[in-house]
Subunit: 585 residues, 2 copies
């Protein structure tokens, strides 16, 4: 598959033979050949967006309309992010592109899983269209787990094989996104088999997601079809997955960082051709300050990867994973997606070209385009939350113990235990215990259903925090001590058309509007980062060591541990509901 | 692309989870993981022809219908020959399969270029059908150069983009075969561009062939589309081609061996993921005695390749070259094409499985099938060669010098020079000069056209040798001193329905019938080898150091140097005819 489309090959041949001028010659560089692992002085000639010739130093080049002096720096291919949820940056794809291109990313394979849960096929189409405005090569995978676990939650859309098939036929959709329902998939689940079959029959890529899976279960998962994994949590897991031929996407996201363990697992192996890099979920602020895939390159090098090989992970290996035959290397026939860098350690590039055109220089975009319309869409439907009482937990008449979710500081996955909590006026109350707060998940897509539960260990909760970003259903999640503040946060979020708000003592302290489906802003990276950081700062000041999306991982029923959805409290390991109350016997 | 077709994945999952028995467990092996470069003790479970689980030693396996004790030997994937002309073995594909499977070859990507030149699409279909009878995974590339250079020769068929497109839509045809007309292709030739476009539009593989091409010409060739090369003749050429991302098919054929040079070129590079192995043209006798792709593995190891990496070249890298996602490695989801070997040096395997079924053991096939019909087809049309006079060279009335082809002992490519030769009775005569012989190429497809020329340095020619095997047109080639013996050879070849014959003093000394299109026998490997060796022996006894297909390389106008076709004498470097006589001025 050619990411850059089919060129006019006879024009390229004419240019290399000197019968017509090249468009650009990048001269005087140390060329990093990620195919063979060699670095040598060279010049690179480009025509029609394609590399037509790599010349060794001194060899005369074809006539070129423009020349660029590389000043003896390294020339490497543009980076390829093999797994990213653009929505997690809270930017639209075109603004995401403006933010990441200056850091050397020229291609992303995005799983628009979040917006698909909010608004189905139309959401994916929004991402495709927004992505097409920018020069970033923005490829999309059709998200298969919408919702992540049917029956355990309700989101804004339900994808069957029909929707997946329809998306797979859209231009720019190159596979099926992360097949995260690994328990069902490794059991040969009927629904997932039908979805996977849509990808297989079209010869499309199947992206995996199988945290902690090893042995027979992992083999079963692999046999079902998935071809990659970005969830290795230990070195043994990474080594085993590599032995299976799975593509290993090493990641450094804003939510987790198991890169050192995964890297250790594969460093003992002789060949690592199937290792690539990804960011998964990364915040706008991190992109502003530290960058994007270059940051993963830097981390890998920091943890002991050879710099040249780290660049290979980020370029050639990513291209091969998806079968992009024209990306990820510097040789005739490859797209001229290039970056000039002072070192192979993930530093910010001096210049970035996409399709042979200068896109960014010294960290600033030099390429621009007309932005898409900034019209809000898919506002949250929360009018059914009318009063404080709607946010209180009614105790059962027969009494008994209440299931309390336990947010764990020492691990990513929540647990739960039944506790005898005080009841007043028919309501469970938590006032006396400063470690307790409420967590509430409210359907925001037109169904009047919600779950309220006590949660322990979340932080020094006061007032209320609410957000329409909560993986993967993106129902409204509220964390609060005070139902009145929670109601205020709900109203503010409704008014913004989606987003996040922190309320205390009857007043909104900070907020972040996300009018694009309740997930994304129309602002650019710096502005989104500033808004998010103001909100996070306020949260930290008031609640202690709480990060912005901590609430979000409590609501994803595909994770291990105990989760909460609009339909109830879920045992993620067994994928079944837990009763909210019990009479001890 | 799955070489073994789409499996019933839910059956595989059921087997790995122990819900139904596996078909076979191969236990107690040292598993060679060509993905990661590790070797470890393991057992392998197989169901439905697919590997479902690799267990480390001691780990209990699923119930299996059959168990095989590997005796602690190495288990490696079946070999993949990335470029072979099956016709050159003079066997049909099904008998070729019988010969090569016991040596560990389980997949070949064949270019049926020879039979296509003889009889067009029907020839390719014969190869596909014959191949389908055997368990060998016999994939085919559509031959693009039929004839190799239009206008310079006439063979039995002419392929335009129409025939190529038709073949590319046949099941089992996975790409376009060797694009050997590299001069024209690197100039953007119209006809070749149209043929290549048929492959590109279908996302099919484009096999290259670019001997001695480097620099701008090589870049131009690459830009035209070809993805591989099996013609590296020097280390610098191999290194450069590898840097371009071309797949390098290292070869040891019966015609040439540049493996040491090519290997040296890539050994200095850090990564060799695009290096695979091939046999190109190999004789039945060599297969009988030394094997097939294992022989190339052995040569590579002999010339300094690391044995584990040589196995990787012969398996995983070959699979990746063609995008066979289920071949070339031992892991869940891969086809159970396996071989048990005592060493990684290309030795004959103890056992070979294809699709999980035992195919050969200790060098003998244990799998058999009903052979296809042994009915001769496409007999040579040579009735127009009626008399000795038809095989003599008429001198021009105006006198002058005659072009004499010079067969070179010191290099593969012929030269030519004008010489003043005696003329008697209006004929050029060679009797006085023992170093001279006649070479004659006669169209055998219904056109009454031939070229006769003197040839120098071919050997101690006496009598006549004739053959319907002569790359690539496979017109009849005759080498002779005595036109009467040549006529006798023609008659014998006609009588056999194609083949080779050696005549002397009015008698046939040895012959080899090739009734399948004049290229192949219906006999099995040992018999074909015996017949060919008897013929070669007779040739050597009478003519000195002459190998069987020496005549064939004189008739391929795509080669450099001077060639002879049914239409005239050709300057291969310029691709134009040379006048057969000249008046010195």
């Amino acid at each position: 598959m050619r990411a850059a489309g089919e060129p006019d090959r006879r024009k390229l041949i004419a240019a290399v033979l000197g019968e017509r001028p090249a468009d650009l010659s990048i001269e005087n560089v140390r060329l990093v050949n990620v195919i063979t692992g060699e670095i040598y002085p060279a010049s690179v000639d480009i025509a029609e967006g394609i590399i037509i010739l790599v010349r060794t130093e001194g060899e005369p080049g074809p006539e070129a309309k423009e020349r660029f002096d590389g000043g003896g720096n390294y020339l490497i291919p543009g980076y390829i992010d093999t797994h990213v949820h653009v929505e997690s940056t809270m930017m639209t794809p075109e603004n995401f592109a403006r933010a990441v291109i200056p850091w050397g990313t020229t291609t992303v394979v995005a799983d628009p899983h979040e917006i698909a849960n909010v608004m189905g096929v139309a959401g994916v189409q929004f991402m495709l269209e927004s992505g097409r405005r920018s020069p970033l090569r923005h490829f999309v995978l059709a998200p298969p787990c919408v919702p992540s676990v049917p029956g355990l939650e309700e989101s804004g859309a339900v994808f069957t094989e029909k929707e997946i098939g329809r998306l797979l036929d859209e231009p720019g959709v190159i596979g099926i996104g992360e097949l995260m329902n690994y328990l069902k998939i490794s059991q040969g689940d009927e629904r997932m088999s039908r979805i996977i079959a849509e990808g297989i029959s079209r010869g499309k890529f199947l992206q995996g997601h199988a945290p902690r899976l090893q042995g027979r279960r992992l083999a079963a998962y692999r046999l079902a079809g998935p071809q990659s994994d970005h969830e290795c949590r230990s070195s043994g897991e990474a080594a085993e997955k590599a032995r299976l031929g799975l593509h290993i996407n090493l990641k450094t996201s804003s939510l987790s960082n198991h890169l050192p363990e995964a890297l250790m697992g594969i460093q003992g192996q002789r060949w690592r051709d199937n290792v690539s890099l990804c960011t998964d979920d990364v915040h706008a602020g991190v992109i502003c300050r530290e960058g994007h895939l270059n940051r993963v390159v830097a981390k890998a090098v920091g943890y002991g990867a050879d710099p040249l090989e780290a660049v290979r992970f980020a370029t050639y290996n990513g291209a091969r994973e998806y079968g992009f035959e024209d990306l990820g290397a510097i040789a005739p026939g490859f797209a001229a997606d290039l970056q000039l860098v002072e070192g192979l350690n993930g530093c910010r590039p001096l210049a970035v070209w996409i399709g042979g055109k200068l896109a960014a220089r010294e960290g600033e975009m030099v390429m621009d385009w007309e932005s898409g319309p900034a019209e809000p869409f898919c506002p949250p439907k929360l009018a059914y939350i009318r009063s404080e009482e709607d946010l209180e937990l009614a105790a059962p008449a027969e009494g008994g113990e209440t299931l309390v979710i336990q947010s764990r500081a020492d691990g990513p996955f929540n647990r739960a235990a039944y506790e005898r909590l005080p009841v007043r006026g028919g309501k469970v109350v938590i006032e006396e215990d400063p470690d307790l707060a409420w967590i509430c998940v409210c359907n925001r897509y037109g169904k009047e259903q919600k779950t309220i539960a006590p949660i322990r260990g979340f932080g020094s909760v006061s007032g209320a925090f609410g957000a329409t970003v909560a993986h993967d259903s993106h129902n409204l999640v509220l964390i609060y001590r005070d139902p009145a503040d929670a109601l205020l946060a709900v109203k503010k979020i409704q008014e913004m058309g989606g987003g996040m708000a922190l309320a205390e003592h009857g007043r909104i302290c900070a907020s972040l509007p996300l009018p694009a489906g309740g997930l994304m802003s129309f602002c650019r990276c710096e502005e989104v980062a500033a808004q998010a950081e103001r909100l996070e700062q306020a949260l930290k000041e008031k609640w202690g060591n709480v990060w912005l999306l901590k609430h979000a991982t409590a609501a994803l029923p595909v994770l291990p541990g105990v989760l909460i959805t609009d339909l109830g409290i879920v045992d993620g390991d067994r994928q079944e509901f837990l009763p909210q109350f019990r009479i001890p016997g």
